[in-house]
């Protein structure tokens, strides 16, 4: 595959031909990205939002969300789809929601939303943002554990130990090689200190229900408010995030855990997007063995794009960026690799007064199938970040519908057509 972020592959001619035209992936002979799209009855009630999905190795799919409580405050809830393979519209039922945590101190917001992961030994871990002080953006990362499939949850632990009232969030959880949990997050501990540059940092630690590993700084200056994303390759974990250069270039970077240490940050692709502002539009990564796909939003020169890039060496190098959007994207991407090596990319595309959650299948050589609409939505922040996971041949989608009297998390399923 490709060598270095700006080089050319053996298929350079074809890609350059595309670039000389529209810059879009070529609509070749790939099948449509999904079949039999069916909306499922959502386990989340009206007043819900901040949805996230996780597909376990056993095929079960977990849905988490925040919902408002009648007595005030919020509850973080989880529901499980045990057999997504049966989720063809008949008999696909989410489990009765369980409560991970509830109260009045959560930092509930559209961009920094909770997540859940299932480790190989069956342990579940969930993270959520909790206010730490009176400042509007003083909040901490809380992580709770469940050893009984989500029925009960532990008292939370805080993985960062700075003790500073500042922003800590945009977490990604992933399995660590020794069976523990890896966690990365955006850490604003430097903000209140007048003697230190007010830089948002990327930090890492490991944890088990009984212990916390040491904290480690992965990047000392990154974008303040974009989601991180992590995946595990056969060579080790990788993390992608929106970086921030001294010149305010906010492109996507990657760090990799290789040979017992985290690498220095490297660019996934050099868009050259200069924006001294908050895009609130992070990348997403997926991995399968040594194959990696990263999707992201950029708007260099005020030209909004959604791109995907592939790697076949666990993220050490990437091929050319392939554009997948329809011309007016709002970003908020998700990506999943297929066993064939293709990737499915979802994003929010502005459409008239609203927006649509769209999906497209893309091949590393730049060919792509048609884009299809998963759901109608809105480009407003209240619509949040649409999520997608794959469980075998099934795709599960979650998004926030803001068209009703109250927002509500909605879910749908579809089948991935054979290549």
């Amino acid at each position: 595959m490709r060598r270095g972020p700006e080089g050319r592959t053996a298929l350079a001619g074809a890609l350059l031909a595309l670039a000389a035209g529209c810059g879009l992936a070529d609509a070749g002979e790939l099948p449509p990205p999904l079949e039999d799209r069916t909306e499922l009855e959502s386990p989340a009630p009206p007043g819900s939002g901040e949805a996230n999905l996780f597909a376990g190795a056993d095929g079960r799919v977990f849905l988490t969300w925040f919902e408002r409580r009648d007595e005030g405050g919020h509850a973080l809830r989880v529901s499980v789809l045990d057999d997504p393979g049966a989720a063809n519209g008949d008999g696909a039922v989410w489990s009765s929601p369980r409560t991970i945590s509830e109260g009045e101190d959560y930092f509930v917001n559209w961009a920094d939303f909770p997540s859940l992961i299932a480790l190989d030994d069956g342990l579940l871990a969930a993270h959520y943002p909790v206010r730490s002080a009176d400042g509007t953006y003083d909040y901490d990362v809380y992580i709770s554990w469940s050893a009984d499939g989500g029925a009960t949850w532990s008292e939370p632990v805080v993985p960062h130990r700075d003790g500073v009232a500042a922003e800590h969030g945009f977490v990604s959880l992933f399995p660590w090689h020794d069976g523990s949990l890896g966690a990365v997050w955006l850490d604003g501990r430097n903000f209140p200190d007048p003697d230190v540059p007010s830089e948002m940092t990327l930090r890492f630690t490991t944890l088990t229900p009984d212990a916390l590993g040491p904290e480690q700084l992965l990047d000392g200056r990154i974008c303040d408010c974009c989601q991180t994303s992590a995946a595990v390759t056969s060579d080790g974990p990788i993390v992608v995030y929106r970086d921030r250069s001294p010149e305010e270039v906010r492109d996507i970077s990657i760090v990799r855990y290789a040979d017992g240490a985290w690498t220095d940050p490297e660019p996934v692709y050099r868009d050259g997007w200069v924006i001294p502002a908050c895009p609130v539009n992070g990348p997403m990564v997926d991995a399968d063995g040594r194959r990696v796909a990263v999707a992201w939003f950029t708007a260099a020169d005020d030209d909004p794009l959604v791109r995907v890039a592939f790697s076949d060496d666990s993220g050490a190098t990437f091929g050319d960026a392939i554009r997948v959007d329809g011309g007016t994207p709002a970003g908020r991407v998700a990506v999943r690799l297929l066993p064939s090596g293709d990737a499915l990319v979802t994003w929010l595309e502005r459409a008239g007064e609203g927006a649509e959650v769209r999906i497209r299948r893309v091949r590393p050589d730049g060919t792509a199938g048609p884009a299809e609409t998963v759901a109608a939505s809105s480009a407003a922040r209240a619509s949040g970040f649409p999520r997608m996971v794959r469980s075998g041949e099934r795709l599960i989608f979650a998004w926030t519908d803001t068209t009703g009297e109250a927002p509500r998390v909605r879910v749908a399923t579809a089948r991935v057509p054979a290549p």
Binding site: C22, L24, P276, A277, C278, V280, N281, A299, G327, A382
Partner: protein, 158 residues
């Protein structure tokens, strides 16, 4: 670009007419940009949760104080989510903001002006043409902004 099936670049760039846009004041009244035709409008898209937005608020207030009588209308459009009015009002009180604030939880203003992040500021002249556009926090003494303010407000530059 149109031949590629991609929509042509939407308005919002320097030299283009300001897009048609109507926001809602904190008092619940509609206000269209065309209602301000004849004034120079410094339109700022912001949110209470955005650190650079918080950083530039004093500069926006300073521009309002400095040039209100010259015909400058500073308009801040908050894209905070629905239900945030109380937080927005508290924010304005904390920062001593007195210029016009509109609310747009559905972010039609971001769509209209193709804002890919916040804050975004545009200067619209008396005829409704965008003369300056800046992503990120502004400073009141930014040379490019000062130059275009001088031109559009017909300030005495001696």
């Amino acid at each position: 670009m149109a031949g590629c099936g991609i929509d042509p670049a939407p308005p919002g760039g320097v030299g283009s007419p300001a897009p048609a846009y109507t926001g809602v004041t904190l008092e619940g009244e509609d206000l269209a940009l065309t209602d301000l035709r004849g004034e120079v409008v410094l339109l700022n898209i912001w949110a209470t949760w955005c650190p650079p937005c918080r950083k530039e608020m004093p500069d926006l207030q300073a521009l309002h104080d400095r040039h209100r009588d010259d015909g400058l209308r500073v308009v801040g459009v908050s894209v905070d989510a629905s239900g945030s009015d109380r937080a927005v009002r508290q924010f304005l009180a904390d920062y001593g903001i007195t210029f016009l604030i509109l609310r747009d939880p559905s972010e039609r203003v971001s769509n209209a002006f193709q804002a890919y992040g916040v804050p975004l500021t545009v200067l619209i002249d008396r005829e409704g043409t965008i003369r300056w556009r800046h992503s990120g926090p502004i400073t009141a003494d930014d040379p490019a902004l000062q130059r275009v303010l001088g031109e559009t407000l017909n300030l005495d530059r001696t």
